[in-house]
């Protein structure tokens, strides 16, 4: 039994007896419902799903089209950072396909209800090829909100950014530059555009227009052609260093082959990792033999079977089989496609799974290739 403390003698010992009733009375007051303002904002800035209508299609090169997309009621669209992409899902024949497309416009356009994305024609990829060839004005996309894994961050990065891009990375590069031009970001950006030949350069006029802004510079480097006004050859350490008179961050938006070359250049620069950022690229993988396997998929206790291939990710095989699986990043980071592997051997590229994920055979089908017949379960 506790000893009574004198200092508390001013407080009434009976009030506790009424506390429950007071609580009841308090809860029975008539009050107005509170509006969830933060939740409303969340629905506007990170909506789960956006329906977008194709308003215009511009062919800017034989293999690149810019699609102008509008929200259904022309209301403003979720804002984004330069270098973001949309994860778009399209129904083709019997199944849903999901791919990412870089935004080409800026947040300022989004505020007016418009997104622009670039679509490359890739005959090997059914979905991009379908969008490029078949889709027309008035058609509808189901899209995610803009997602950003590559781009400038004012607290992390230096305000002198050197961005090395090839055709694969030129769309996010332009979108980053446009964000500067729109006054959204304030830093100096120098783009090094790598191409084999002059004819392969995309969107040159747009890029040159952006250089009227004093914070944006573009240098073109042609590896297989000499042309007045354009650098010839490769970027080396000394060349890069000449742009680094003050602390700089280096961004690389290029395909995997280029990355290997640049890793050597960057090693010579001896920059801490903090100053080098890479655009996520889909890991390249080729199995020794091109083999066909059977994939069994369990959904809601129902079993489906389909073909899968040693040279295709499980997500790709699921899409081709018309079995829907949510997916987004396609490089194993976002986790949207996480699935349980019940049976079979697989090859995982860039395996960053946690201890428990490995223990329970949780895989990311977007970066996983079958090496035998497999069984997976989608919950």
């Amino acid at each position: 039994m506790a000893k009574e403390i004198e200092e508390l003698s001013n407080l009434n010992k009976d009030s506790i007896k009424n506390l429950r009733m007071q609580r009841e009375e308090y809860l029975s007051q008539d009050k107005e419902e509170k509006e969830e303002l933060i939740k409303n904002l969340a629905k506007q800035v990170i909506p789960n799903q956006i329906i977008l209508i194709i308003k215009n299609i511009r062919e800017v090169a034989p293999n690149l089209k810019i699609f102008t997309l509008e929200s259904r009621n022309q209301s403003s669209l979720a804002p984004f950072r330069g270098g973001s992409y949309l994860t778009i899902t399209v129904k083709i024949e019997n199944g849903y396909y999901t791919r990412n497309f870089f935004l080409y416009s800026t947040s300022k356009d989004a505020n007016k209800g418009v997104y622009e994305i670039g679509v490359f024609d890739n005959p090997e990829d059914k979905m991009s090829h379908y969008i490029f060839d078949e889709m027309k004005i008035g058609d509808i996309f189901i899209s995610s909100h803009p997602i950003n894994h590559f781009g400038y961050n004012m607290v992390r990065d230096e305000n002198n950014v050197l961005l090395i891009a090839d055709n694969n990375g030129i769309l996010p590069a332009i979108s980053m530059a446009k964000a500067i031009d729109d006054g959204i970001d304030t830093y100096d950006l120098t783009i090094f555009y790598l191409a084999h030949k002059y004819d392969e350069i995309l969107l040159e006029r747009e890029l040159n227009d952006l250089t009227t802004n004093e914070h944006i510079n573009v240098n073109y480097i042609l590896s297989a052609e000499q042309k007045p006004g354009y650098l010839n050859g490769f970027i080396d350490t000394n060349y890069l260093r000449s742009f680094m008179s003050r602390p700089s961050s280096i961004f690389i938006a290029a395909e995997e082959k280029q990355l290997k070359y640049f890793n050597n250049v960057l090693e010579e620069l001896k920059l801490p990792r903090k100053y080098i950022r890479y655009m996520p690229v889909l890991p390249e993988y080729q199995s020794a033999q091109d083999l066909k396997f059977v994939m069994t998929v369990v959904i809601n206790n129902e079993k489906f079977t389909a073909d899968c291939y040693s040279n295709k990710t499980i997500v790709t095989s699921l899409e081709e089989a018309g079995i829907y699986i949510p997916s987004s990043c396609h490089d194993g980071t976002c986790g949207l496609c996480k699935t349980e592997l019940l049976k079979g051997e697989v090859k995982i590229i860039k395996d960053h799974r946690t201890k428990a994920q490995k223990e329970y055979n949780i895989i990311h089908p977007c970066i996983t290739y079958p090496m035998s017949d497999i069984t997976i379960i989608i919950r």
Binding site: S9, E36, K39, N153, K338, E359, Y360
Partner: protein, 501 residues
């Protein structure tokens, strides 16, 4: 109508999974649904570059081995183990020095009641007597709460005889009772440091709640799990599946359907319906009632008589140097503009420039990131309802992040920006889509008659829908430190008891 389950659990966060595991252990047929593609709720696991950002980096647990309802002990019931590491010091609190004039107050307190009181006496000479009284009363409050939480009908005579100080304190605020105890003002301010962990200032939070919370922390010490809570959620998932439980992901619950005032089934946004004897949500009570198809007037009033609690703005930083090189030497950094929590509360109605609770997980667990690197977490709390133009949202987030980092630098002399290799920011807007009410990470705010003790005394009168329960991580429905896990145990036990009757 699909087959009937013993329990349907809405939300596969840790609370929902733990409840599900405890029920499946007793062979109950359990269905867990979650709108996300993965289990774990807010226990995120994000990989950026060479860093893994997990929620367990700043999840605090009580290291009391005798307490049966800590996460560690509940997991033992399931045959699961989880390792913890102790936090070295109770807290370090520093007042923010906007203009870098060297004027800040810097105080550090140890764990252990005796050590705590002694250190406080060094900072505030003459505080010892009132501090001893404070901890004695805190212990009494803890015992009284344990009695109330475990009894069906409160015997007030027994309460008065056994816990004479507790009955006098009843629902008085923290500041009121500290004043009565003649705790020196400077000592009160230091003592109140943990207020941001409960999310209500000294004038609003009940003494009973804060005192038991602080007593538990100081007396038993705090620890953080060594492995990620996300991995724990996978372990629980595996346990449930092995015990024939069903988990449906990508399944958003649109409505909880009632018949004659009883919850009978859930309806998903794809139209599918599932029936269950009990429906348990991994949401706050307010968020739960908002899902019910037909609410009695009493429940509507219940919703509207709650204030939204504190909101979090979280910054995870992957730093490219070790803590020794950077100079981070404390697990906790509480950075407050002033030590007057009421004043702070009033100032925290906007999103920018708020008080911070910072954690350095690397101080206790160097393995959270690769050798030569470290992880630092900043939680800034606010009560904002500020309307931001959607177009300005990203700029606003960057500005707030930048300001918080600058404030940390000006106050501690440590320039974090120099070392940031990876950064992940989670705002109240992100939390708003995670089943919280209006983005409040803390659930309903604790104040006046919406404090722990009145909630506890009235708990049997606030189940407005039969067969509907809520398990959640929000503070103040129950009196234990490991709130979510304790609730999971209480609700699972309740369901099992009712089922056997």
């Amino acid at each position: 109508m699909q087959n009937k389950y013993d329990a349907i659990i809405v939300g596969a966060g840790l609370g929902g999974l733990l409840t599900g595991a405890l029920l499946s252990k007793e062979n109950k047929k359990v269905l867990i649904v979650d709108s996300h593609n993965d289990v774990g709720g807010t226990s995120i696991d994000t990989r950026l570059g060479r860093f893994n950002f997990n929620t367990n980096l700043d999840a605090l647990f009580l290291s009391n081995p005798e307490n049966e309802v800590t996460l560690k002990n509940i997991l033992k019931l399931l045959g699961l183990e989880i390792e913890f590491k102790k936090i070295p010091k109770a807290f370090r609190v520093i007042t923010i020095d906007e203009n870098n004039e060297g004027l800040h107050v810097k105080v550090e307190l140890p764990f252990g009641v005796a050590d705590f009181i002694n250190k406080m006496e060094e900072y505030v000479p003459g505080s010892q007597k009132s501090m001893i009284a404070f901890f004695n009363i805190a212990k009494e409050c803890k015992e009284a709460l344990t009695y109330i939480a475990n009894t069906n009908e409160v015997n007030y005579e027994f309460l008065e005889n056994s816990y004479p100080n507790f009955v006098r304190i009843s629902n008085h605020s923290l500041s009121k009772v500290l004043d009565e105890l003649r705790v020196p003002l400077k000592c009160q301010e230091i003592l109140n440091t943990y207020w941001t962990l409960l999310g209500s200032p000294e004038t609003q939070i009940g003494f009973v709640h804060y005192a038991t919370f602080l007593f538990d922390a100081i007396n038993y010490e705090l620890e953080v799990p060594e492995e990620s809570l996300y991995d724990l959620s996978l372990k629980l998932t595996n346990y449930i599946l092995k015990h024939k439980g069903v988990i449906k992901l990508n399944s958003k619950v649109k409505k909880i359907i009632t018949e004659n005032g009883k919850a009978v089934r859930i309806k998903l946004s794809n139209g599918a319906e599932y029936g269950g004897k009990k429906i348990i949500t991994n949401l706050s009570p307010v968020a739960t009632y908002k899902l019910v198809d037909e609410l009695p007037k009493k429940a509507v009033r219940y919703i509207n008589n709650h204030e939204t609690g504190a909101k979090l703005f979280t910054i995870y930083l992957g730093l490219n140097r070790s803590i020794e090189e950077i100079g981070l030497d404390s697990y906790f950094y509480f950075l407050y503009h002033t030590l007057d929590s009421e004043n702070e509360f009033v100032e925290m109605q906007s999103l920018s420039n708020n008080d911070m609770i910072c954690y350095t997980p690397s101080v206790i667990n160097p393995d959270v990131s690769p050798k030569g690197t470290s992880i630092f977490v900043i939680n800034s709390i606010s009560y904002t309802n500020e309307i931001i133009n959607p177009g300005d949202y990203i700029t606003a987030v960057d500005k707030i992040t930048n300001n918080l980092l600058n404030t940390f630098t000006n106050t501690t002399g440590i320039n974090l920006k120099e070392y940031i290799e990876e950064i992940k920011v989670i705002t109240p807007v992100d939390y708003a889509l995670e089943g919280t009410v209006n983005g409040s990470y803390y659930g309903e705010r604790l104040s006046d008659l919406d404090n722990l003790l009145p909630r506890l005394l009235n708990k049997d009168h606030e189940d407005y829908i039969e067969n509907l329960y809520s398990v959640n991580g929000f503070l103040g429905d129950l009196y234990e430190f490991d709130n979510t896990y304790y609730k999971a145990k209480v609700i699972a036990d309740k369901v099992l008891r009712e089922d056997s009757e």
